[in-house]
Symmetry: C2
Subunit: 150 residues, 2 copies
Protein backbone atom coordinates (compact mmCIF):
# COMPACT_ATOMS: atom_id res chain seq x y z
CA UNK A 1 0.00 0.00 0.00
CA UNK A 2 2.97 2.27 0.26
CA UNK A 3 3.59 3.98 -3.03
CA UNK A 4 7.05 4.75 -4.27
CA UNK A 5 7.64 8.46 -3.99
CA UNK A 6 7.58 10.38 -7.23
CA UNK A 7 9.55 13.53 -7.79
CA UNK A 8 7.05 15.19 -10.08
CA UNK A 9 5.70 17.50 -7.41
CA UNK A 10 8.95 19.13 -6.39
CA UNK A 11 10.09 22.45 -7.76
CA UNK A 12 13.56 21.09 -8.46
CA UNK A 13 14.43 20.60 -12.13
CA UNK A 14 16.98 17.97 -11.17
CA UNK A 15 14.42 15.83 -9.39
CA UNK A 16 11.59 15.68 -11.89
CA UNK A 17 13.51 13.99 -14.70
CA UNK A 18 14.58 11.18 -12.42
CA UNK A 19 11.25 9.42 -12.70
CA UNK A 20 11.90 9.23 -16.43
CA UNK A 21 15.60 8.43 -16.63
CA UNK A 22 16.68 7.63 -13.07
CA UNK A 23 17.19 3.94 -13.56
CA UNK A 24 19.85 1.66 -14.83
CA UNK A 25 18.67 1.17 -18.39
CA UNK A 26 16.93 4.24 -19.75
CA UNK A 27 20.07 6.31 -20.25
CA UNK A 28 21.73 3.43 -22.07
CA UNK A 29 18.80 3.10 -24.43
CA UNK A 30 18.97 6.83 -25.05
CA UNK A 31 22.72 6.58 -25.61
CA UNK A 32 22.11 3.90 -28.22
CA UNK A 33 19.40 6.01 -29.81
CA UNK A 34 21.88 8.87 -30.16
CA UNK A 35 24.22 6.34 -31.68
CA UNK A 36 21.70 5.61 -34.40
CA UNK A 37 20.05 2.45 -33.12
CA UNK A 38 16.31 2.41 -33.61
CA UNK A 39 15.06 -1.16 -33.79
CA UNK A 40 13.94 -3.35 -30.90
CA UNK A 41 16.40 -6.05 -31.80
CA UNK A 42 19.26 -3.60 -32.09
CA UNK A 43 18.69 -2.34 -28.59
CA UNK A 44 18.35 -5.81 -27.21
CA UNK A 45 21.54 -7.01 -28.86
CA UNK A 46 23.45 -3.94 -27.77
CA UNK A 47 22.29 -3.97 -24.18
CA UNK A 48 21.76 -7.66 -23.57
CA UNK A 49 18.70 -7.18 -21.41
CA UNK A 50 15.54 -9.25 -21.34
CA UNK A 51 12.95 -8.41 -23.94
CA UNK A 52 10.23 -7.70 -21.44
CA UNK A 53 12.44 -5.24 -19.64
CA UNK A 54 13.40 -3.55 -22.87
CA UNK A 55 9.78 -3.36 -23.86
CA UNK A 56 8.81 -1.79 -20.54
CA UNK A 57 11.65 0.74 -20.71
CA UNK A 58 10.78 1.71 -24.27
CA UNK A 59 7.15 2.21 -23.33
CA UNK A 60 8.17 4.32 -20.37
CA UNK A 61 10.43 6.48 -22.50
CA UNK A 62 7.63 6.90 -25.01
CA UNK A 63 5.22 7.84 -22.23
CA UNK A 64 7.70 10.49 -21.11
CA UNK A 65 7.97 11.81 -24.65
CA UNK A 66 11.66 11.00 -24.90
CA UNK A 67 11.23 8.44 -27.65
CA UNK A 68 8.52 8.08 -30.25
CA UNK A 69 7.75 5.42 -32.80
CA UNK A 70 7.80 5.86 -36.55
CA UNK A 71 6.90 3.38 -39.27
CA UNK A 72 9.81 1.16 -40.16
CA UNK A 73 11.85 2.35 -43.10
CA UNK A 74 12.02 -1.07 -44.65
CA UNK A 75 8.88 -2.99 -45.50
CA UNK A 76 8.61 -4.65 -42.10
CA UNK A 77 5.32 -4.36 -40.24
CA UNK A 78 7.06 -2.96 -37.16
CA UNK A 79 8.29 0.46 -36.21
CA UNK A 80 11.41 2.24 -35.14
CA UNK A 81 12.15 4.10 -31.94
CA UNK A 82 13.61 7.56 -32.43
CA UNK A 83 14.39 10.46 -30.14
CA UNK A 84 11.91 13.27 -29.79
CA UNK A 85 12.94 16.91 -29.42
CA UNK A 86 12.83 16.37 -25.68
CA UNK A 87 15.00 13.31 -26.02
CA UNK A 88 17.49 15.14 -28.22
CA UNK A 89 17.71 17.72 -25.44
CA UNK A 90 19.54 15.14 -23.36
CA UNK A 91 22.61 15.39 -25.56
CA UNK A 92 24.59 17.64 -23.21
CA UNK A 93 23.61 15.50 -20.23
CA UNK A 94 24.82 12.36 -21.92
CA UNK A 95 28.05 13.96 -23.07
CA UNK A 96 28.77 15.33 -19.62
CA UNK A 97 28.07 11.96 -18.06
CA UNK A 98 30.26 10.27 -20.66
CA UNK A 99 33.14 12.59 -19.89
CA UNK A 100 32.76 12.06 -16.17
CA UNK A 101 32.77 8.30 -16.65
CA UNK A 102 35.74 8.58 -18.94
CA UNK A 103 37.70 10.51 -16.34
CA UNK A 104 36.85 8.56 -13.21
CA UNK A 105 35.87 5.03 -14.16
CA UNK A 106 38.71 3.97 -16.41
CA UNK A 107 42.36 3.24 -15.92
CA UNK A 108 44.57 5.36 -18.08
CA UNK A 109 45.56 2.48 -20.31
CA UNK A 110 42.12 1.00 -20.67
CA UNK A 111 40.51 1.37 -24.10
CA UNK A 112 37.16 3.09 -24.16
CA UNK A 113 34.55 4.52 -26.50
CA UNK A 114 35.09 8.21 -27.11
CA UNK A 115 32.86 10.86 -28.61
CA UNK A 116 34.63 12.70 -31.40
CA UNK A 117 33.87 15.61 -33.66
CA UNK A 118 32.97 13.92 -36.94
CA UNK A 119 34.57 16.60 -39.01
CA UNK A 120 37.82 17.15 -37.16
CA UNK A 121 38.14 13.58 -35.85
CA UNK A 122 39.12 14.95 -32.47
CA UNK A 123 37.48 14.38 -29.08
CA UNK A 124 34.87 16.95 -28.19
CA UNK A 125 35.88 19.56 -25.65
CA UNK A 126 35.09 19.08 -22.00
CA UNK A 127 31.61 20.30 -21.18
CA UNK A 128 31.78 23.34 -18.95
CA UNK A 129 29.34 25.44 -16.99
CA UNK A 130 29.54 29.06 -18.04
CA UNK A 131 28.13 32.34 -16.93
CA UNK A 132 25.99 34.40 -19.27
CA UNK A 133 29.21 36.22 -20.13
CA UNK A 134 31.08 33.05 -21.04
CA UNK A 135 33.25 32.70 -17.97
CA UNK A 136 33.67 29.15 -16.69
CA UNK A 137 31.90 28.62 -13.38
CA UNK A 138 32.83 26.32 -10.52
CA UNK A 139 30.26 24.99 -8.05
CA UNK A 140 31.23 27.73 -5.61
CA UNK A 141 30.43 30.40 -8.17
CA UNK A 142 26.80 29.39 -8.29
CA UNK A 143 23.76 29.31 -6.05
CA UNK A 144 20.16 28.12 -6.32
CA UNK A 145 17.40 30.70 -6.50
CA UNK A 146 13.66 30.45 -6.91
CA UNK A 147 12.58 32.04 -10.15
CA UNK A 148 9.12 32.49 -11.55
CA UNK A 149 9.79 32.94 -15.24
CA UNK A 150 12.42 32.17 -17.76
Amino acid sequence: MVKRTSHQDTSCPVARPLDAIGDGWSLLIIRDAFDGLSRFGQFQKSLGLAKNILSARLQSLIAHDILRTVPAGDGSPHHEYVLTEKGLGLFPVLVALRQWGDEFFFDRTEPRARLVDKERRRPVAKVEVRSAGGRTLTPEDTVIEMRQDG
Copy 2:
Protein backbone atom coordinates in the same frame (compact mmCIF):
# COMPACT_ATOMS: atom_id res chain seq x y z
CA MET B 1 20.08 -16.75 -8.16
CA VAL B 2 20.20 -14.25 -10.99
CA LYS B 3 22.40 -11.32 -10.22
CA ARG B 4 21.58 -7.85 -11.38
CA THR B 5 23.78 -7.00 -14.32
CA SER B 6 26.54 -4.54 -13.60
CA HIS B 7 27.89 -2.17 -16.20
CA GLN B 8 31.44 -2.09 -14.87
CA ASP B 9 32.76 -4.41 -17.54
CA THR B 10 31.68 -2.46 -20.57
CA SER B 11 33.94 -0.09 -22.41
CA CYS B 12 31.26 2.61 -22.47
CA PRO B 13 31.90 5.60 -20.21
CA VAL B 14 28.18 6.27 -20.06
CA ALA B 15 27.39 2.83 -18.70
CA ARG B 16 29.92 2.47 -15.90
CA PRO B 17 28.74 5.38 -13.78
CA LEU B 18 25.19 4.07 -13.74
CA ASP B 19 25.94 1.54 -11.04
CA ALA B 20 26.92 4.46 -8.85
CA ILE B 21 24.32 7.08 -9.69
CA GLY B 22 21.71 5.28 -11.78
CA ASP B 23 18.97 5.25 -9.17
CA GLY B 24 16.33 7.59 -7.96
CA TRP B 25 18.07 9.06 -4.92
CA SER B 26 21.81 9.31 -5.46
CA LEU B 27 21.70 12.27 -7.80
CA LEU B 28 19.44 14.13 -5.42
CA ILE B 29 21.82 13.55 -2.53
CA ILE B 30 24.64 14.82 -4.72
CA ARG B 31 22.55 17.83 -5.73
CA ASP B 32 22.02 18.63 -2.05
CA ALA B 33 25.71 18.18 -1.39
CA PHE B 34 26.49 20.74 -4.08
CA ASP B 35 23.95 22.93 -2.40
CA GLY B 36 25.97 22.83 0.80
CA LEU B 37 24.14 20.16 2.80
CA SER B 38 26.44 17.80 4.63
CA ARG B 39 24.67 16.33 7.65
CA PHE B 40 22.59 13.19 7.79
CA GLY B 41 19.59 15.03 9.16
CA GLN B 42 19.84 17.74 6.54
CA PHE B 43 19.67 15.22 3.74
CA GLN B 44 16.82 13.39 5.37
CA LYS B 45 14.81 16.53 5.88
CA SER B 46 15.48 17.76 2.37
CA LEU B 47 14.67 14.50 0.64
CA GLY B 48 12.06 13.01 2.93
CA LEU B 49 13.30 9.47 2.52
CA ALA B 50 13.56 6.79 5.17
CA LYS B 51 16.70 6.84 7.27
CA ASN B 52 17.75 3.35 6.37
CA ILE B 53 17.54 4.18 2.69
CA LEU B 54 19.50 7.35 3.15
CA SER B 55 22.10 5.45 5.11
CA ALA B 56 22.45 2.84 2.39
CA ARG B 57 22.71 5.46 -0.35
CA LEU B 58 25.34 7.43 1.54
CA GLN B 59 27.39 4.29 2.08
CA SER B 60 27.12 3.46 -1.60
CA LEU B 61 28.24 6.93 -2.62
CA ILE B 62 31.16 6.69 -0.22
CA ALA B 63 32.07 3.28 -1.62
CA HIS B 64 32.10 4.82 -5.09
CA ASP B 65 34.33 7.65 -3.89
CA ILE B 66 31.75 10.29 -4.68
CA LEU B 67 31.27 11.34 -1.07
CA ARG B 68 33.59 11.08 1.90
CA THR B 69 33.14 11.73 5.58
CA VAL B 70 34.94 14.37 7.57
CA PRO B 71 34.78 15.05 11.32
CA ALA B 72 31.89 17.32 12.19
CA GLY B 73 32.79 20.97 12.36
CA ASP B 74 30.86 21.51 15.56
CA GLY B 75 31.61 19.46 18.65
CA SER B 76 29.17 16.71 17.76
CA PRO B 77 30.46 13.15 17.77
CA HIS B 78 29.26 12.58 14.22
CA HIS B 79 30.65 13.45 10.83
CA GLU B 80 29.73 15.29 7.69
CA TYR B 81 29.36 14.03 4.15
CA VAL B 82 31.18 16.07 1.55
CA LEU B 83 31.90 15.66 -2.13
CA THR B 84 35.20 14.20 -3.26
CA GLU B 85 37.05 15.40 -6.34
CA LYS B 86 35.23 12.72 -8.26
CA GLY B 87 31.92 13.91 -6.87
CA LEU B 88 32.69 17.51 -7.74
CA GLY B 89 33.32 16.32 -11.26
CA LEU B 90 29.59 15.72 -11.58
CA PHE B 91 28.89 19.44 -11.62
CA PRO B 92 28.43 19.73 -15.40
CA VAL B 93 26.27 16.61 -15.41
CA LEU B 94 24.00 18.01 -12.76
CA VAL B 95 23.76 21.40 -14.40
CA ALA B 96 22.95 19.87 -17.77
CA LEU B 97 20.31 17.67 -16.19
CA ARG B 98 18.90 20.63 -14.33
CA GLN B 99 18.59 22.64 -17.51
CA TRP B 100 16.94 19.77 -19.31
CA GLY B 101 14.43 19.37 -16.51
CA ASP B 102 13.87 23.09 -16.46
CA GLU B 103 13.07 23.11 -20.15
CA PHE B 104 10.91 20.03 -20.47
CA PHE B 105 9.34 19.27 -17.10
CA PHE B 106 7.84 22.60 -16.12
CA ASP B 107 5.02 24.74 -17.40
CA ARG B 108 6.14 28.16 -18.38
CA THR B 109 4.42 29.81 -15.43
CA GLU B 110 5.49 27.29 -12.84
CA PRO B 111 8.03 28.51 -10.31
CA ARG B 112 11.21 26.51 -10.10
CA ALA B 113 14.66 26.50 -8.55
CA ARG B 114 17.24 28.03 -10.88
CA LEU B 115 21.01 27.94 -10.81
CA VAL B 116 22.43 31.45 -11.02
CA ASP B 117 25.85 32.99 -11.27
CA LYS B 118 26.48 34.20 -7.72
CA GLU B 119 28.29 37.29 -8.88
CA ARG B 120 26.07 38.46 -11.71
CA ARG B 121 22.82 37.09 -10.27
CA ARG B 122 21.89 35.80 -13.69
CA PRO B 123 21.07 32.24 -14.74
CA VAL B 124 24.05 30.28 -15.96
CA ALA B 125 24.32 29.81 -19.70
CA LYS B 126 22.97 26.70 -21.33
CA VAL B 127 25.49 23.91 -21.26
CA GLU B 128 26.69 23.13 -24.76
CA VAL B 129 28.78 20.48 -26.41
CA ARG B 130 31.67 22.04 -28.28
CA SER B 131 34.39 20.92 -30.61
CA ALA B 132 38.02 21.39 -29.68
CA GLY B 133 37.82 24.61 -31.64
CA GLY B 134 34.84 25.94 -29.71
CA ARG B 135 32.13 25.35 -32.26
CA THR B 136 28.83 24.10 -30.84
CA LEU B 137 28.13 20.52 -31.83
CA THR B 138 24.81 18.80 -32.43
CA PRO B 139 24.34 15.05 -32.05
CA GLU B 140 24.76 14.64 -35.79
CA ASP B 141 28.16 16.31 -35.67
CA THR B 142 29.58 13.59 -33.47
CA VAL B 143 30.34 9.91 -33.59
CA ILE B 144 31.66 7.27 -31.19
CA GLU B 145 35.15 5.92 -31.70
CA MET B 146 37.27 3.47 -29.78
CA ARG B 147 40.33 5.20 -28.44
CA GLN B 148 43.21 3.75 -26.50
CA ASP B 149 44.64 6.82 -24.83
CA GLY B 150 43.66 10.31 -23.86
